[in-house]
Assembly symmetry: C2
Homo-oligomer: 347 residues x 2
Amino acid sequence: MKGLNIMEKKNVTFKDIAEYTGFSKTTISRYFNNPDSITLENQEKIADALEALDYKENKVARILANGQTEYVGVIIPNLYFHYHAAMLNCILSTYEQYGYKFLVFVGNEHKETEREYISELLAYKIEGMIILSYTIPSEELASYNVPIVTIEREDKFVCSVNTDNYAGAKQATELLIDNGCDVLIHLNSDMTDEVPAYGRVKAFKDICAERGIKNELIIVDLGAEHNTAKEKITRIIDELDAKYPNQKKGIFMPNDTYANIMLNVLIRKHGTLPDDYRIVGFDNSPISAEAVIPISTVDQQIDTMAREAMELLVTQMNERKKRRPEPLEVPLHRIVTPVLVRRETTD
Amino acid sequence: MKGLNIMEKKNVTFKDIAEYTGFSKTTISRYFNNPDSITLENQEKIADALEALDYKENKVARILANGQTEYVGVIIPNLYFHYHAAMLNCILSTYEQYGYKFLVFVGNEHKETEREYISELLAYKIEGMIILSYTIPSEELASYNVPIVTIEREDKFVCSVNTDNYAGAKQATELLIDNGCDVLIHLNSDMTDEVPAYGRVKAFKDICAERGIKNELIIVDLGAEHNTAKEKITRIIDELDAKYPNQKKGIFMPNDTYANIMLNVLIRKHGTLPDDYRIVGFDNSPISAEAVIPISTVDQQIDTMAREAMELLVTQMNERKKRRPEPLEVPLHRIVTPVLVRRETTD
DNA sequence: TTGTACGCGTTATCAC
DNA sequence: GTGATAACGCGTACAA
């Protein structure tokens, strides 16, 4: 074995345990995988031998022999947004329940890179994948022919878990209406109706129409950089102040980070959150609670989503292990209902 | 192979490629590991065969054969603090440079659980480990006899990368002094002088003594929960206001999250950041830039730390692969100097 | 430049 | 309850 130091004592294997105890390798294997099939007395003997020889198990060999890696691959855009970090945290925590190990890659929204990561994952014989990044179309994902669950992204051809964005935005919009706002404003980036987040835009328009409320949808890319976003939001506020003077403005922001920036810009402009402004964010990320004036928001129930995703994935992976697997005919899509969190930026 | 569907077509292996092309398995292997050793013409033939048979590489088998997994294990307390998430992000990003894959576990500060995770990692024959959690003493970590690098924790017996906490706290303290503060206050939790963060307490005391500045060290556990911390900080402010009236108070907080809470409590008490308060945080986490009044802080240079950690780990892992490894005689400790970020909570 | 033969450490099968 | 033997898919001396 290349790189094996001459001085280094060889690994202790089943062979050594077998020789030491007088049993066969098979029996040693059984000790681990089906202990009941050997006598208690002999179990003890083997246990002692393991101790004496300081045996360390080798799961790589086991994988090669039985084909089950217990690996799940994860591809996530990055970990700078709390939302993603929290989701990964919850995913990793499912190890306790299912025992699957996670090989994690950050893709940084780079399609080619993410493709390479997927090949690498497949080469390591992962049993399934959880995809949070959104550069690779679900049709391509499906073609890899591995159990997959995506979270909060385009998902036509694969199983997925998404927030009920429509329901979340509906609650946010209604909260602003109930606050007596004269005009509702929703900021969001440009997107197709294939991504789950589009439900927010749709709900905003629907509810406003239903209730006959004056409203404005502002499509804008605020970017990832704080100062850029701050400048753009400052300009938007100036425009709103000019356009809707003496009217109570209900602002529904696309996430808490931006909601916080808007709040802060308003506070620094007027000394406090003016009475003609109401704000609701989205995500219930820490910033919403830690803002000077705690921000009303929509909680995405990240732990539930992560659990549902793993459950959906495990189901698919288990199906594959059956003698006669019956793959899903159509991809399953699970929807998690978010909950409104009322804080101080609304009444 | 258990769980292998009868209908499922067997995996394409080197054997199949060999039969298809008329070469031996060895030649196929060489095509991947030492392509120059076969003629260009035959390389083409093999390439075509791989395409025709839709070959998928199996790195698990390769591991068993050559003993190199290219796995690095990571144990991190959790991903809820931005600091940890950002660090993991930077660690995972080194894949591009070194090609090591990461098996990630969140330990939640649970010693026994983390021990089990380590066993699991060892069973998968990881080549090295990066430890961010701090429950397991470095002496025990060293005993696992695997290349290890810890980040920002007790590290007597293993290699590590730490922030130069002393230098960071020194800059923070001096900034407050230069701001003309009459009394300096440092909040921090109780800790031994074995953890790197203790350097902050030490620097604070040292610099204040050197400069002859009145100061107070408040040892307090503010907890992880926002509202609890808020209440405790509110009480502390009331005490400070009473104890040091008409004196300019320079507050050095243990992190940005707490600094932000203090800032917000002050603002909600006095309408703005009072002129007799100056605040410096630690970490340069997003909250420090996103606060109503952007908070001065100390940037830990997370990307540098992550890079240094991997470099240190790769060095150790490479050493092990040599014919005659010379392990480090003493653990190496790398120190990364943080940089002061001056914003609006100081002049 | 290419092939032979064996090893890596475990599990599965079948026989006893 | 236990053992012999053949996989699993690839790497690598050694030989040719």
